[in-house]
């Protein structure tokens, strides 16, 4: 028999045990290192995504606020400052007392909610076809959203003098609920403030605009729109945009913007006092009306994602090019002014609670 019968023997039990023991030792050594590394990478990537979202949000708000202007009517730039206590376990109570408001902003269950109201120009974005529903073509050279907002009415696009603008969070002024009678309709009902406070990741920056100089009204008898110049007091204290107005029209989808996705827990806004050379926060539950606006503001936001994995607090100083105000508030540190209408100077702190009990 020419072929030699060979038996390929395998590993012995002792060899297998030795190899497995070595392999196991190596694995045990390597796994924690690997876990540590992957956790580090994940943590950093989560924080990085929060940084990127914060930059995008601040970029959009900055380009809006830099357009704040004054006009011959002396209309106001105002900053409201509200605080809410959330019920989300993601932001625990600092003192352990769920009834007490945490004094420290940004870190615990105290949510900062600012509202910036301003006037801004209409820099362009006019439509070539003014007498039809075709609003797809901009005049050459005019600017597109979001720097410019298109004309509001589908029937009669007009040239606007300016826009009222309100930058706030949906925590402060929740979106209107579905209302078929007012053509306000969402795929899902808008969240209420208690719902947002129970899940702070649902809070969004909301930018809402309303055209200045055109007061539309539908005459139901003729199904036509009539236009009126707005009276001077439309931008006065107490008349700034609060809840989103409901028109019997398509205005909402073109003049309201929510910046969602990566959302803000906090939005705070401080104003520059030229004389003292420092930024001042507006006191809790107060509003300061400026005319003209201060030369700069400082926006501070805390951002997290919907999964509430990481958050980051960043701020940005924004210069307002057209603003020449010194930012000195006449009654800062004194008693708040309880009335909306106050003779100039208008840089006055007012008690928001007494002005707006609903807040």
């Amino acid at each position: 028999m020419g072929a030699v019968m060979r038996v390929r023997r395998g590993f012995t039990l002792a060899e297998m045990i030795a190899v497995l023991a070595i392999c196991l030792s190596l694995t045990v050594l390597v796994v924690p290192i690997f876990r540590l590394s992957t956790n580090t990478v994940r943590n950093i990537e989560e924080k990085l995504s929060a940084y990127e979202a914060a930059r995008n949000i601040l970029d959009v708000m900055e380009q809006e606020i830099r357009q704040a202007m004054t006009n011959e009517r002396g209309e106001h730039f105002s900053i409201k400052h509200l605080v809410y206590k959330d019920t989300d376990t993601f932001t625990p109570d600092q003192t352990g007392n769920p009834l007490a408001m945490d004094p420290t902003p940004y870190l615990f269950s105290r949510r900062e909610a600012a509202v910036v109201n301003l006037m801004r120009p209409q820099p362009g974005a006019q439509f070539t076809n003014t007498n039809s529903a075709d609003r797809s073509t901009l005049v050459d050279g005019t600017l597109a959203h979001p720097l410019a907002y298109n004309t509001q009415m589908i029937y009669l696009p007009t040239l606007h003098e300016s826009w009222y603008e309100s930058i706030r969070t949906t925590m402060t002024y929740p979106q209107p609920q579905n209302d078929s009678g007012q053509n306000v309709s969402y795929a899902e009902p808008a969240l209420t403030r208690p719902q947002i406070l129970a899940d702070v990741s649902q809070n969004e920056i909301s930018i809402y605009l309303q055209a200045r100089d055109n007061e539309p009204e539908i005459n139901d008898s003729f199904s036509a729109l009539y236009w009126y110049n707005e009276p001077p007091y439309r931008g006065q204290p107490g008349n700034e945009l609060k809840t989103e107005r409901k028109f019997k029209d398509w205005i909402d989808q073109y003049t309201r913007m929510h910046i969602g996705g990566m959302n803000v827990l906090d939005f705070n806004c401080a104003y520059w006092n030229e004389v003292d050379g420092k930024f001042y926060d507006v006191s809790d539950s107060m509003v300061v009306y400026f005319s003209p606006p201060p030369k700069a503001i400082r926006m501070t936001i805390t951002v997290c994602d919907r999964q509430k994995r990481k958050r980051v607090t960043l701020c940005r100083v924004v210069q307002i090019p057209i603003a020449m105000g010194d930012g000195v508030v006449a009654n800062k540190g004194g008693l708040p002014d309880p009335a909306y209408l106050t003779p100039s100077p208008y840089n006055r702190e007012k008690d928001l609670k007494s002005l707006e009990p609903g807040l």
């Binding site: 060979r6 990478v41 960043l314």
Partner: protein, 183 residues
């Protein structure tokens, strides 16, 4: 000699412990190689975060300069009252923190501008002193307008803010062209 070692009876024998250990050593080297690559990913992510933070900070600084209506060719020079002076006119910007190169911290004490900026204590900034001494002239080749008067001073100053992560060589440079407000 055949490639496979055989016993005298022709049996293919298994691997020895030494061979297995060598194999495991190679395996370990491979694993360590993979792990060694992870810190570079972490570093890259850290760098991007630094980029993001420095974008906020540089834009804020430019906004502060414009808010204060400075003349960059005068007020941003080392030793100028705006950045290094005393009470008249009031100095707004942070003083140098003593590290070589003329770096300045971002003010982040209670009530300061950058009080609530995450990890702000890790960053420092400075003005490129060479850039602000440059003048920008009309150069049609670069597209600067007007094109009818080549060589004319455009009266703008390139202001470069350098932001550094402390304890590292990571730096970001941001340049904007600024006019003098003339106060």
């Amino acid at each position: 000699m055949p490639a496979t070692m055989k016993t005298a009876r022709g049996h293919a024998r298994g691997l020895t412990l030494i061979e297995v250990m060598i194999a495991m050593f190679i395996f370990l080297v491979g694993i360590l190689g993979v792990l060694a690559a992870l810190p570079s990913g972490v570093n890259a992510a850290h760098y991007v975060m630094f980029q993001d933070a420095s974008i906020h900070l540089s834009r804020s600084k430019f906004a502060e300069f414009r808010r204060d209506r400075i003349d960059p060719r005068v007020d941003l020079l080392d030793g100028a009252p705006y950045v290094d002076g005393g009470a008249s006119p009031p100095r707004i910007q942070e003083i140098k923190n003593g590290t070589p190169g003329g770096w300045r911290d971002f003010a982040h004490g209670p009530g300061d501008v950058y009080e609530n900026f995450d990890d702000i204590e890790h960053y420092q900034w400075m003005i490129d002193q060479d850039d602000i001494k440059k003048s920008v002239t009309v150069d049609p080749a670069k597209g600067y307008i007007p094109t009818t008067n080549p060589g004319a001073d455009l009266s703008v100053t390139p202001v470069t803010i350098v932001i550094q992560m402390k304890g590292s060589k990571r730096e970001m440079r941001y340049t904007q062209y600024m006019y003098s407000y003339g106060k």
